[in-house]
């Protein structure tokens, strides 16, 4: 088992290399030139060329990639073309903000999803099931940025209960776990929780319903096991798949909260990406995409390891 873990960790290296290559290529395939966006429209060509050479943007692509990769390996994620500051510190604090939002939204979504899905699975076919399933489908179908805006309209504008934007009073980016900050977290995390809640509900419902129709559940009833014992068996059988889905959803949340962060002006990686895309800020784009993709890779690995650990049917060699 230890050897299995070691092997999987080693695999991360080629995977990360491939991921970074794709991130690098994507940015350069997109139309739009950052230098043109930066300088005045009627700047002479020599000036443009000189600026370009300064940023190293005139060298062949493989060279640019190699240079960038070497710097990343040393921890230098480059300098923002627009802000002129190093990328890394901003990326770190933005990642922290997104992490808080993703974990809160994720936790809400997963707990709701497991509860709803479990109930729907056990009472499949009844009105309970219909209501819960309908809610889940609605949750997955509704565009969450629209939902975010509606929440802002209702709770911030009309009822003036909760703030509409930002992650702290006065636009601060320093986080603290006090009510003044948490009230900024409520609306965005609720909005973010809706999609994972829907997905987890449907997954858990299908799993639980399937498990309940298995022969071994009849055996358990035939042995005289009480409800609690049967629930434990259902949970342990559902756990590997549910944990895998939750893990992947968490990765999604980390990388995919762009829209929600934009609606609520939450200073996370999503907003950072959004801004960088519009500004063609290549170093920022590359660094952010790489970090998010790597997060995916690591989370995937964790999910695989957890599944192998708890499902005895998976080979451990």
């Amino acid at each position: 088992m230890l050897y299995y873990i070691f092997r999987r960790i080693i695999y991360i290296i080629p995977i990360s290399l491939a991921v970074s290559l794709v991130c690098f290529m994507l940015v350069h395939i997109a139309p739009g030139d950052p230098i043109d966006a930066m300088v005045q429209p009627d700047t002479p060509q020599e000036v443009i060329d000189r600026v370009r050479a300064e940023y190293g943007l005139d060298r062949p692509l493989p060279v640019q990639f190699g240079v960038w990769l070497a710097k990343v390996a040393q921890g230098d994620f480059g300098t923002s073309l627009i802000k002129g500051r190093p990328v890394l510190p901003d990326l770190v604090s933005a990642s922290g903000a997104t992490f808080i939002l993703a974990c809160t939204g994720g936790l809400l979504g997963f707990v709701l999803g497991c509860v709803f899905g479990g109930l729907a699975g056990v009472y499949r076919g009844t009105w309970i099931d219909r209501i819960l399933l309908g809610t889940a489908v609605a949750g997955v179908s509704v565009p969450h940025y629209w939902l975010g805006m509606v929440m802002v309209i209702i709770f911030s504008v009309n009822m003036n209960l909760l703030p509409a934007m930002g992650a702290g009073p006065g636009g601060s980016t320093e986080w603290a776990w006090d009510w003044a900050h948490i009230r900024y977290l409520i609306l965005p995390s609720l909005t973010l929780a809706v999609i994972p809640a829907g997905i987890v509900t449907r997954t858990v419902r299908g799993l639980v319903s399937d498990i309940m129709s298995q022969d071994y559940i009849t055996t358990l009833r035939g042995k005289g096991m009480r409800r609690r014992g049967i629930v434990w068996h259902v949970v342990k059988n559902a756990a590997p798949t549910v944990l895998a889905v939750i893990g992947l959803q968490l990765a999604n949340l980390m990388g995919g909260s762009i829209l929600v962060e934009t609606v609520f002006a939450w200073p996370g990686t999503g907003m950072m990406l959004n801004t960088a895309i519009f500004q063609r800020d290549i170093p920022v784009l590359q660094a952010t995409t790489l970090v998010l993709a790597l997060f995916f890779v690591v989370l995937n690995l964790l999910v695989d390891l957890v599944q192998t650990a708890i499902d005895p049917r998976i080979s451990r060699r």
Binding site: D215, Y216, T218, R221, G222, G224, R226, H233, R313
Partner: protein, 327 residues
């Protein structure tokens, strides 16, 4: 001295109700079993034998099942028993072993855990002690390397070992009544014999009453004291195993014996019973076997024949029993 019967069923009916149809799986059976006796319910697929077996433990799906009649198991009225008492009975007083051990055992728990949890549920012991007892049980059912096998998962065992594990689980709390739903059907022939001999030995050692459901006459001959032949949800013949197998009285039972390879048929052609069993959604007014019977008469088609008792301990549901016997 009147011994209280272990199982007593009178006019038991079991139907499955769904939106489209009602299937009358069991149409009025009587069943008697005393302690220490082995009764074999013999019948083909769709005869209602598994449904009858599960009805004895109220194990049929709750929402869809409709039961009527009288059913008394180990002194408890099963028609009115509370859920709590039912749950306490299952596994402790009456236990079941199933046909397919691969699906009947939970794949993510070890067999040690699955046997242990039965013991912990009914005997209130802790995990350590349950594990020790589980080990003893594995040795009782003759699983080799029992200690290692305690930590094995069902998919790591062969079919025969899985079935032994299930038997160990079922007898762990020394039930008075063991219900066996075709436990050897899914095993190879050599393993079948081993399991049957094991069951017989355990039955004798523990003094359990056993209701064994099978479609295989050979299996019935090996393990039963008495046989009840079932067809289309009714018992059509009852008697001791030697009597019924040597001299079947019901045309269906006769057909079964004629279609099976056994010593009595040596040198003769096997016969077949023409036709197929009736669809239990549409019950027939008279004898269910009438469409396929060679002795059929008008009286057969009019009403369901009552039991006749040609000898002590023998019962036949056929108006032409004497005629059939003479054949």
């Amino acid at each position: 001295m009147a011994v209280q019967p272990l199982v007593r069923a009178r006019d038991l009916h079991v139907s499955f109700v769904s939106r489209d149809s009602t299937v009358k799986a069991v149409n009025g059976i009587d069943l008697d079993l005393v302690e220490g006796e082995v009764l074999c319910i013999l019948g083909e697929s769709g005869s209602g034998k598994s449904v009858t077996l599960r009805a004895l433990m109220q194990l049929n799906p709750k929402g869809k099942t409709v039961m009527s009649g009288e059913l008394n198991v180990a002194g408890n009225d099963m028609m009115t028993i509370s859920d709590a008492k039912l749950s306490a009975m299952r596994g402790k007083v009456v236990s079941m072993i199933f046909q397919e051990p691969m699906t009947a055992l939970d794949p993510v728990f070890t067999i040690g855990q699955q046997i242990g949890e039965t013991l912990m549920r009914h005997e209130g012991i802790g995990y350590r002690e349950a594990e020790k007892k589980a080990l003893d049980l594995l040795e009782l059912v003759q699983i080799p390397s029992a200690k290692r096998r305690l930590g094995a998962y069902p998919h790591e065992l062969s079919g025969g070992l899985r079935q032994r594990a299930m038997i160990a689980m079922a007898i762990s709390c020394r039930p008075k009544l063991l219900l066996a739903d075709e436990p050897t059907t899914a095993l190879d022939a050599t393993v079948q014999i081993q399991i049957l001999l094991l069951l017989r030995r355990l039955q004798q050692e523990l003094g359990m009453g056993v209701v064994f459901v099978t479609h295989d006459l050979g299996v019935a001959g090996e393990i039963a004291d008495r046989i009840a032949v079932m067809y289309a949800g009714r018992m059509v013949e009852l008697g001791s195993v030697t009597d019924v197998m040597a001299k079947p009285l019901h045309p269906y039972a006769q057909g079964l014996m004629g279609a099976t390879v056994h010593a009595g048929n040596r040198g003769k052609r096997l016969t077949t019973i023409p036709g197929s069993p009736p669809d239990l959604r549409f019950p027939i007014p008279g004898c269910a076997f009438a469409p396929r019977c060679q002795y059929v008469g008008d009286a057969c088609r009019e009403h369901v024949p009552d039991f006749r008792y040609p000898a002590e301990g023998r019962a036949v549901r056929c108006v032409k029993a004497e005629e059939v016997a003479a054949a």
